[in-house]
């Protein structure tokens, strides 16, 4: 289960989501500007008030950390 917490206009969110799409990885796209409950959840999980944050099977990835994402998803 993959969740991506983002807002509509942030550069790294776009890059992160494009990356997942290109690798045909399904994810739940959560717009925290529209969803306050999800926003709180994101801040609690990550200790971050900045987007993007990805939750990959319970592992939290902050920002577009491509290496960590690849490792968690066993890509390449």
């Amino acid at each position: 289960m993959i969740k991506v917490y983002s807002t509509p206009s942030c550069p790294y969110c776009v890059t992160l989501k494009n990356f997942l799409k290109e690798h045909n990885i399904q994810f739940e796209d959560i717009d925290v500007s529209q969803n306050e409950i999800a926003q709180k959840e994101m801040i609690e999980k990550s200790g971050q008030m900045g987007v993007p944050v990805a939750d990959i099977d319970g592992e939290i990835v902050i920002g577009f950390d491509q290496d960590k994402i690849k490792k968690l998803l066993k890509l390449e």
């Binding site: 509509p8 206009s9 942030c10 790294y12 890059t15 008030m49 900045g50």
Partner: protein, 304 residues
Amino acid sequence: MVYDLIIIGGGPAGITAGIYAARKKLKTLLITKEWGGQMTKAPEIQNWPGIKKISGIDLINKMIEHLKSFEIEIKEGKEVIDLDKKGDNFLVRDNDGTYEAKAVIIATGKIPRTLNIPGEEEFKGKGVSFCATCDAPMFKNKEVAVIGGGNAGFGTALDLVKYAKKVYILEFLEEMKGDPILKEKLEKTGKVEFQVNVAVKEIKGTKFVESLVYEDRKTSKDHELKVEGVFIAVGMMAKAEFAQKLVELNQIGEVVIDKDNYTKTPGIFAAGDISDIKYEQIVIAAGEGAKAALAATDYLKNKQ
């Protein structure tokens, strides 16, 4: 393997250079830390010919799609940390590896300037932000500070007043430098307090930002301001130290180029905001990227 061309940067300059290089059938690698850079933060672009109005995100997505329709190798999410010579060729190094090319185009653009004060790095993403369009929604009903009273600071504040309870705009100089029209707009919200002669010294907190400390430059007295967000909007800076062995940097760190985008080292070109051209616009960066790719193509032809 040796590439014909390595392009560093994924904004309008780098992408356009990539499109031109691919059409010239150059064996090209494009390395970028992120797509679009500054333009992704533009809510509305109204001066890209052929499109009356488009957001920066939508425009960059179109550009990426256009680029990827060509044969070009791309490494994204990677930051180049060194550029060096190897005989007639060049070595481009990121955290992953080293790549060799006959020519290089530097198109890394500009990044937000930092304050270099305690707490700034520590609380990045924990209340300190350089991107209001990204992070403003996290500060609903909170008090926040914007550092910088120019147009960038005013724009940041306009993004924030949609969510925050109160926005302080703190300017180092004696007066706000931003446009009066924007200032009026901000004043009308009743949420904004403007303060000049402010030197921000420290950002404090535990898990998240709780306050900032500033010196009133008139009285030389320190004050503490309780805020949960600190948005830094003190302009942009060029960061091309990775290339400084081979290119000349001007006083503000931009790569010095001639009218055909050549740097002082033949085979290394620069394009867009990272170069020392005067005007910084998406359409200009794209044009400069095209020029650099054409110049690189000629350079490679003449080398054969």
